[in-house]
């Protein structure tokens, strides 16, 4: 797989404002703005808090100096930390851990003001190809260009040029380029790397060119059974879904702490793979399990089976076996915005968790479905809204931008799949991903449902929609990393991102998990709504 460049058009109005190369501004910034020097180091500290933070750091050191190293180690083993970007609160949490009587001069502001968030458009990972053995012994000072790297770069170049031609409507050029691409594909190893993912993109492009470049194609619908098979293989072949389920369950479990009646609303039940673990965790909860209601949303079956009901029965059986009182309800809806809140039958006495694993982006198509749905979610007053989404921007208005970004995103994902040698049967997992690729590249309008957006955008949306972040902490981080050790491929990385967790391949995050709670709406009486 050769190196190639991703050029994402800067999102409107955002330029990364971390420290520039040689900034020596003499004008003092507004006092409660985030300090830009520390922002370049990854920390958010308000300019008018700098002295305070310094004092607390000094105090923390004094306390640490007094403590025994072994005590500190123990403290660290038990403690949970959140959002290290917020330096002030990090220092405070350490101080609290060390049980000092520190009087905080003023309340530490809860930072729900995300207007200072700097947008970091996602980059890409580029991979060097397997080298052919060097020609002059161990090393040659002549630049030896591995043949495959050249072809890979060329392949990506032509893919881009072709996508650009499609965007311009120059279909004859696009067709010619597709022929070129087929030829190039013949020269690379199509079993892995750029050869594999490249062929999917060439396919998608040629479908689009042949069929309907303007209006896009409509993807062939699979039967529910076929969908389940692909999903299941994807679930097994790589850790992305498992990470999503695992992290979500952790957060939901914590949100349900102390609650006797809990209700989970799953936006895409599928095979219910997420829920056995939660049921078991609730069964083992100190103080005993709550009454658990699960409402599973899924598409109406197109093959005569009532798969929602089947899954519900299986989960009920499991719950019975571990003595968890359980009730299941299936809600069939082909699109999330077809769901009406009354269908969910939420009772005011229950603690509600809304679980959305790669579903919300489907609501970003034409119209306001996302706002409507977020609004009724908020009306349910959930204790937690769990959102896991693909960490990439595949929803940009320009086709070429979407194409470029998805090329890098899925190349990275395919690379991670390639590296999982423990799973020999990967072709169905790849097909699952291929359908996503096809949707991003070939479809338009309401048919294009894979409208992934990155975490920074979701943060903006969810905050405007009246949700406040619930930070995922170091315990969830640690456990996610442990989960990854079960996979043979080294290269998966979990990162903490201002209270959210991402799972990626090497340094490129691919999936982002975040948790939210609804800010109660102001009452109509006071707001005159």
């Amino acid at each position: 797989m050769g190196p190639y460049d991703s050029s994402i058009s800067p999102a409107a109005g955002s330029s990364n404002s971390s420290s520039s190369a040689c900034s020596s501004s003499t004008k003092p910034p507004p006092p409660d703005q985030m300090d830009h020097l520390l922002a370049g180091a990854g920390y958010k500290v308000r300019s008018n808090e700098l002295n305070q933070v310094a004092e607390r750091l000094q105090h923390l050191e004094t306390v640490m100096v007094k403590s025994l190293p072994v005590d500190i180690s123990e403290m660290v083993n038990d403690a949970v930390y959140y959002n290290p970007t917020d330096l002030a609160s990090w220092v405070d949490s350490l101080l609290t851990e060390l049980n000092t009587n520190v009087t905080v001069p003023e309340p530490v502001p809860v930072n729900t003001d995300l207007s200072d968030l700097h947008e970091f458009p996602s980059g890409m990972n580029v991979y060097g190809s397997n080298h052919a053995p060097e020609m002059h012994g161990e090393f040659s000072q002549q630049a030896v260009t591995p043949l495959e790297e050249d072809v890979s770069i060329r392949l990506v170049h032509v893919l881009m040029t072709c996508a650009e031609a499609v965007q311009r409507g120059d279909l004859s050029l696009a067709s010619l380029l597709i022929d070129d691409l087929q030829a190039l594909l013949g020269r690379v190893n199509s079993g892995c790397g750029i050869g594999k993912v490249g062929s999917f993109f060439v396919d998608a492009l040629s479908q689009r060119v042949v069929n309907s470049p303007e209006n896009g194609v409509v993807q062939v619908e699979l039967t529910a059974y076929e969908n389940e098979i692909l999903y299941h293989h994807y679930y097994e072949a790589c850790p992305y879904l498992k990470f999503a389920h695992f992290t979500a369950n952790q957060a939901i479990l914590e949100a349900f702490d102390g609650q006797d009646c809990v209700h989970v609303i799953d936006f895409n039940l599928m095979q219910g793979l997420q829920w056995p673990a939660l049921i078991q965790a609730l069964a083992l909860r100190p103080g005993g399990p709550p009454l658990l209601r699960l409402t599973g949303i899924g598409p109406p079956s197109n093959d005569g089976r009532d798969s929602l009901r089947e899954i519900g029965l299986k989960l009920a059986e499991l719950a019975r076996s571990v003595n968890v009182r359980f009730a299941f309800r299936g809600v069939a809806a082909s699109r999330l915005d077809d769901v009406k809140p009354w269908m969910l039958q939420v009772s005011p006495k229950e603690a509600v968790a809304v679980n959305s694993i790669m579903q919300l982006h489907k609501l970003l198509g034409p119209g306001p479905p996302i706002d409507l749905v977020l609004d009724w979610i908020r009306d349910l007053n959930p204790r937690i809204l769990m959102v896991v989404e693909q960490e990439s921007n595949h929803n940009q208005p320009e086709f070429l931008d979407r194409f470029t970004e998805s090329l890098y995103y899925y190349s990275t994902m395919f690379d991670s799949l390639d590296a999982c040698t423990a799973q020999p049967e990967k072709s169905l997992a790849e097909l699952y991903i291929q359908r996503e690729i096809c949707n991003v590249v070939c479809c338009e309008g309401s048919a294009r449902v894979e409208r992934h957006e990155p975490l920074v955008r979701w943060r903006e949306r969810l905050t405007s929609a009246g949700f406040a972040p619930l930070h995922l902490g170091s315990n969830a981080f640690k456990q996610a990393r442990m989960l990854l050790t079960l996979f043979s491929a080294e290269g998966y990385s979990v990162e903490e991102n201002e209270g959210c967790l991402t799972l990626g391949w090497h340094s490129r995050p691919l999936i982002a998990a975040s948790a939210w709670q609804a800010i109660p709406k102001p009452s109509p009486a006071t707001m005159g709504r």
């Binding site: 190196p3 460049d5 991703s6 050029s7 994402i8 058009s9 800067p10 330029s15 990364n16 971390s18 420290s19 190369a21 040689c22 020596s24 020097l37 520390l38 370049g40 180091a41 990854g42 500290v45 310094a54 750091l57 050191e61 004094t62 640490m64 100096v65 190293p69 500190i72 180690s73 660290v76 930390y81 290290p84 330096l87 996602s122 980059g123 890409m124 990972n125 580029v126 991979y127 060097g128 397997n130 080298h131 060097e134 161990e138 090393f139 000072q141 630049a143 030896v144 260009t145 170049h157 881009m160 650009e164 070429l400 931008d401 170091s474 981080f477 990393r481 290269g491 903490e496 340094s507």
Partner: protein
């Protein structure tokens, strides 16, 4: 102990700007928690705490970055390049691909710095925010390319892993057609690093010299060296400016092979087990020493050792600088350093 701690804090606060004091103190205290007395390291918490940034192919202040994983070694390198001036804003998507099909220049010489981040062999990564920011500045400064190496860290990977990774990175860089420059094309490579990264740069340069691989220069930013002996600077500055001798000892124990002491040649370059560099085609060196760094006597000994081996070395001694002075552009030492680096790679 508490009293002297306050004195130390006040001393340090007098010489470093507030932002730098906050940043380095934060690292210091977090690192205290991560190092366990039994020599193990809390890697989970370290990765959780480390602020990372993704590569960004959209130029910011004229610099863009992308990551490459070398499949053969699983090693990640982050590449920083200057954006072509006329396409800085409103970049044509896909235009960047052309840049990788061509050498950096067919007429001019474009320096490529292979950078090894610091962290006492244990902390940080190529995608750590502090190093990403630093490498961006470096790239813009030299108007060239910076390759930041994500080498394997101790205690999980002890000596010689970091050196091996550095060597692989050097070979990899030399073999990229898109890093060539000049009328007689070759990759114009410099090695650079801060703290442990400086130590790695030295050892990679030695191996390069022994193997006949060209390195045009070494830039060592308060490189990490040491030895069994306690130098005067170690005693005098112990605990005064963010660093304690006992911390340094912990990192050496975590990096060196088990049972080895600090006179191991990885650590004590010109010590009892050091190699003789006289007559070796070693690159010219720029060694930057912070006058408030307790390791300075070892760094000065390194400079003397190079001089005695008749190697070309320039010492930049920054009397009032503490470790990490180069992370933020808020002090004169930073700008002095940048000027020196620039002339070093353009002379």
């Amino acid at each position: 102990m508490a009293g002297s701690n306050e004195i130390n804090a006040n001393e340090a606060k007098k010489v470093v700007p507030l932002h730098t004091w906050i940043l380095i103190s934060n690292f210091k205290l977090a690192y205290n928690i991560l190092r366990r007395p039994d020599g193990t390291f809390n890697r989970e918490l370290a990765e959780f705490l480390d602020r990372k940034v993704a590569a960004n192919t959209v130029p910011v202040d004229g610099v863009y970055s992308f990551d490459i994983v070398d499949r053969a070694t699983s090693l990640l390198n982050r590449i920083y390049r200057c954006a072509p001036p006329d396409t800085d804003s409103g970049r044509q998507p896909g235009a960047g691909i052309l840049e990788l099909e061509n050498p950096l220049s067919t007429t001019e010489i474009v320096p490529v710095i292979i950078f090894f981040h610091g962290g006492s062999f244990t902390h940080s990564s190529a995608n750590s925010a502090i190093y990403d920011t630093f490498c961006r500045r470096l790239t813009a400064l030299i108007n060239g390319v910076v390759v930041s190496v994500n080498y394997r860290r101790s205690p999980e990977h002890r000596y010689p892993c970091a050196y091996e990774d550095g060597w692989e990175a050097l070979k990899w860089v030399h073999s990229r057609s898109w890093l060539l420059s000049g009328k007689n094309p070759k990759v114009h490579v410099y090695l650079a690093g801060d703290s442990s990264g400086g130590n790695i740069a030295h050892h990679v340069a030695v191996r390069a010299a022994e193997s006949g691989v060209e390195v045009l220069g070494n830039i060592l930013l308060h490189p990490l060296f040491g030895g069994e002996e306690r130098k005067e600077s170690e005693n005098k500055l112990d605990g005064k400016y963010f660093v304690r001798v006992q911390d340094r000892d912990w990192y050496w124990r975590a990096f060196l092979p088990e049972g080895e002491d600090r006179d191991h040649p990885a650590c004590n370059i010109f010590g009892p087990h050091g190699i003789d560099l006289k007559g070796v085609k070693f690159p010219k060196s720029l060694v930057v020493v912070a006058g408030l760094d307790l390791v300075q006597d070892w760094q000065l000994a390194y400079v003397r050792g190079l001089e005695e081996a008749e190697q070309q070395v320039k010492l930049l001694f920054l009397k009032k600088a503490t470790i990490g002075f180069y992370f933020l552009p808020n002090n004169e030492h930073f700008y002095t350093l940048m000027d020196e680096i620039k002339s070093f790679v353009t002379s």
